[in-house]
């Protein structure tokens, strides 16, 4: 090979390199234009609502939000002057996409203590209820096992599948679910009694405390992380005595805990507030009397952080927002209702650095509604996940 050939080669290499470097941003953003949404009202959640605001989305992330912003070159602009835009809703507790027979898949009833199991292994992203769920405005869910195990499987945080990039699993092991409700009592498997339930939970946590590294004991290993506060624990309980029992265990084993369900928590809200224990409240749709419907408002007013859940398919994912609306009608402060659907859930699930509000740097998971999010008459018009439009309501 002669000297000039080597130079030509080098020049060629350089050209290709520089060209590819130029192309890199193009390739990287291949198919993803900058998206700018102009909405009648923007609800960032972490700041006040913005009338006639803008949200700028680039590469699947929010890069700017405000009124009177500079619109980047070549951006695709969506004009929605009479619509509202808010962060994609986050469902704090559901059983979506768990195979055909949901209840069989989520209740591992033969064995009472199963923290080594992971609910994600039962998740079917192609299930009908998952695809239908996209039109609900919910973009991220916490998948959980059922209520019949005192110590159930590990939960997962999942973004609803859709869009060009498979954003799927955010956290395979988001925590362990405990059930301290009477639903966990079975007749043919321990525990059959309430005191037995408490005794069994204590036994398992005590065993975990004595777990030595290196020994094969997957359950104890996982529960040890729970006792050390590294793995959150979501405790399902509804009645006052159940919640009180949960608090005793949380205090004793210093768990990083969340109460799920928490129907009657208003009666002991101060105890939860002083311990900073957040709640994922049950769907208000399942409540039937005034007295119960007023509870969640009182809990939030006492300073407890509250997020919402749909328990899907027990209620539909689209009912998540309805839960918050009903709660607001029965006394929950509107801003807390909105927070409960978004940032509170994100904080509780440990994903607030990327989800839960419309702020620069966060994932572009957004839902566009035909009206105020806390009005029942508002419908979901468009859902965006990671900057891609995954659902758009058909225009007649």
């Amino acid at each position: 090979m002669s000297g000039s050939d080597a130079v030509t080669e080098r020049k060629l290499l350089l050209t290709i390199l520089s060209l590819s470097l130029c192309a890199a941003p193009v390739m990287a953003g291949a198919g993803q234009q900058t998206l700018v949404i102009k909405a009648g009202k923007v609800w960032p959640i972490t700041g006040s609502a913005i009338t006639n605001g803008l949200v700028v989305i680039e590469n699947g992330k929010i890069t700017a939000v405000g009124a009177n912003l500079a619109i980047p070159e070549g951006a695709k602009i969506l004009e929605m002057p009479d619509k509202h835009i808010m962060p994609g809703l986050i469902d704090g507790h559901c059983h979506l996409g768990l195979s055909l027979d949901v209840f069989a898949e989520i209740e591992e009833t033969v064995s009472a203590v199963t923290p080594d199991m992971q609910i994600l292994d039962a998740f079917n992203p192609l299930a009908a209820d998952v695809t239908k769920a996209l039109r609900s405005g919910v973009t991220t869910v916490l998948l959980a096992p059922g209520y019949k195990n005192p110590i159930a499987a590990q939960m997962a945080v999942v973004k609803l599948p859709g869009g060009k990039k498979d954003a799927g699993v955010i956290n395979r092991s988001a925590g362990v679910k405990f059930s301290l409700g009477n639903e966990a009592l079975m007749s043919d498997r321990r525990p059959t009694s309430r005191p037995g339930l408490i005794a069994q939970v204590r036994e398992e946590l005590n065993k975990a405390g004595q777990y030595q590294e290196g020994k094969f004991d997957p359950r104890a290993e996982i529960l040890k992380r729970a006792i050390q506060g590294q793995l959150p624990v979501h405790i399902y309980c509804n009645a006052v005595d159940e919640i009180l029992a949960a608090i005793i265990i949380i205090d004793e084993y210093k768990l990083k805990a969340v109460i799920v369900g928490a129907r009657e928590a208003d009666e002991i809200a101060e105890m939860l507030a002083e311990r900073n224990i957040p709640l994922i409240y049950m769907p208000t749709l399942l409540l039937s009397n005034d007295k119960d419907l007023k509870r969640v408002g009182r809990i939030a007013a006492a300073g407890v952080k509250v997020a919402f859940a749909s328990y899907a398919p027990r209620t539909n994912l689209s009912d998540l927002r309805t839960s918050a609306i009903i709660a607001a009608k029965y006394g929950l402060a509107p801003e807390l209702a909105l927070k409960g659907l978004t940032i509170n859930a994100a904080e509780i699930l440990g994903i607030a650095q990327r989800l839960g509000s419309i702020e620069p740097g966060k994932d572009a998971d957004l839902v566009i509604l035909s009206g105020d999010p806390l009005e029942l008459t508002s419908g979901v018009e468009m859902v965006i996940i990671n900057g891609d439009i995954v659902y758009q309501k058909e225009q007649k």
């Binding site: 009477n182 007749s187 009694s193 309430r194 005191p195 037995g196 408490i198 005794a199 005595d241 002991i268």
Partner: protein
């Protein structure tokens, strides 16, 4: 100058005194037509002074403080709040842990529901101290707790946890068995004892194992710890028995191991009254029935004697009358009724018990049996201000409870 300073000091001293007085709770005084102290002779036209939830003075010549709030019960009868040594459990879920018939470390105190309607009803019938036992389906059933029926959390209600170890020596622990027909045993329902002799053997074996455990002390076993503590007399043992033969078995085993016992239910206790008295075992009777209603009552408790309480008391046995109305393992653990202890005592008298003895059997005697007689069970200086104000003789069928005072607070008023 000095005078001003002195006056200032004097004033501030007065203010300080006034403040400390403000900090102290106001006295409550009850003027009663008749006080039945239970521990002593009745006091006619007496006064009870209450402060900070305790009785500070009681008698006829008592000075009532100026600022005391006075309850006028001058046409009423006053007696101590009742002590139910076997109350209806205020628990929402199932009581019975069927997965094993030996559950010594099971604590009913972990399952208490402070919101239970049982507590609200029982207060209205005059009970101010309750012993809650674990479920009766297991041979060694677990640990009971003594509570007062008022409190926002279980902890606020409890006055003594691990109050007694419940042992059930009848056919109760043999219930729920499924005899394997054509398949091998697959659930824990096959493992339970099925005969009375097996029940006695299993009890002996657990005591034997506990003794080994005390001697060797290898590793921590919560169940063995409890049985060991009971063997060493640290936790009282309450044995639920119905038939005379089972009572004898219980006494026999107790003698073998040098144990003290409290006997529960004791439907046929009247047949072996002297033996029980000789053993100095107190008895907690209940429920009373004319005809057996539950299957275990049919099987083991058919031979009733309405005067069980009277016969036992006459033989020198300490008798407490309680609700003990927890049905057997096969039925729902909680009922929505509550037994009226005053009626129970009235009928005990009707059937042959002495009136003073009967009143004691729902107050001081159960308090002594439960080990809380230092605070409840009679109206004495220093004891908790748990007081009932009645419209008349407590043993009369037409007497009403007008007011229930618990720890100095009125919790029910007619």
């Amino acid at each position: 100058m000095r005078g001003c300073v002195i006056r200032l000091i004097f004033l501030s001293a007065q203010l300080l005194a006034a403040c400390t007085l403000c900090g102290q709770e106001k006295t409550v005084a009850i003027r009663a037509g008749e006080i039945l102290t239970i521990s002593g002779a009745p006091i006619k036209s007496g006064i009870i002074l209450i402060q900070n939830g305790r009785i500070t003075d009681i008698g006829t010549e008592i000075a009532v403080p100026q600022d005391a709030s006075v309850i006028d019960a001058s046409d009423a009868v006053v007696m101590p709040g009742l002590v139910d040594a076997g109350a209806l459990p205020p628990v929402r879920g199932d009581l019975n842990e069927q997965s094993s018939e030996m559950t010594p470390a099971l604590r009913i105190s972990t399952a208490l529901d402070p919101k239970s309607r049982v507590l609200k009803r029982i207060v209205q019938t005059g009970c101010t101290t309750l012993y809650i036992a674990p479920g009766g389906a297991n041979l060694i059933a677990g640990l009971g707790v003594i509570i007062k029926p008022v409190g926002k959390t279980a902890a606020e209600m409890v006055i003594k946890d691990d109050a007694a170890l419940k042992i059930v020596m009848g056919s109760d622990s043999t219930q729920g068995n499924r005899i394997p027909w054509y398949e091998p045993p697959t659930t824990f329902y096959y493992r339970r004892p099925t005969t009375t002799m097996a029940v006695a053997w299993m009890l002996r074996k657990s005591f034997f194992d506990a003794k080994q455990y005390i001697a060797s002390h290898e590793k921590e076993d919560p169940n063995m710890e409890i049985i060991a503590a009971a063997l060493q007399g640290k936790i009282p043992i309450r044995v639920a028995v119905r038939r005379a033969i089972d009572i004898r078995t219980a006494l026999r085993i107790a003698n073998e191991y040098g144990l003290s016992l409290i006997l529960d239910e004791c439907t046929e206790g009247y047949k072996v009254a002297e033996e029980i008295a000789k053993k100095n075992a107190p008895v907690v009777l209940g429920p009373f029935y004319y005809y057996p209603r539950t299957s275990s009552q049919y099987e083991e408790g058919r031979e009733v004697n309405w005067n069980n309480a009277g016969i036992l008391a006459k033989a020198g046995v300490r008798v407490a009358i309680a609700s003990n109305s927890q049905e057997g393992p096969r039925f729902a653990a909680t009922q929505d009724e509550s037994i009226d202890l005053l009626t129970a005592a009235a009928f005990a008298v009707r059937h042959g018990m002495a009136p003073a003895e009967a009143l004691k059997s729902i107050t001081l005697t159960p308090a002594e049996i439960l080990g809380v007689a230092d605070r409840v069970g009679s109206l004495e200086k220093g004891k908790d201000a748990d007081i009932l104000i009645l419209s008349g003789n407590p043993l009369a069928a037409t007497t009403r409870i007008k007011r229930v005072i618990l720890k100095g607070e009125t919790v029910y008023q007619d």
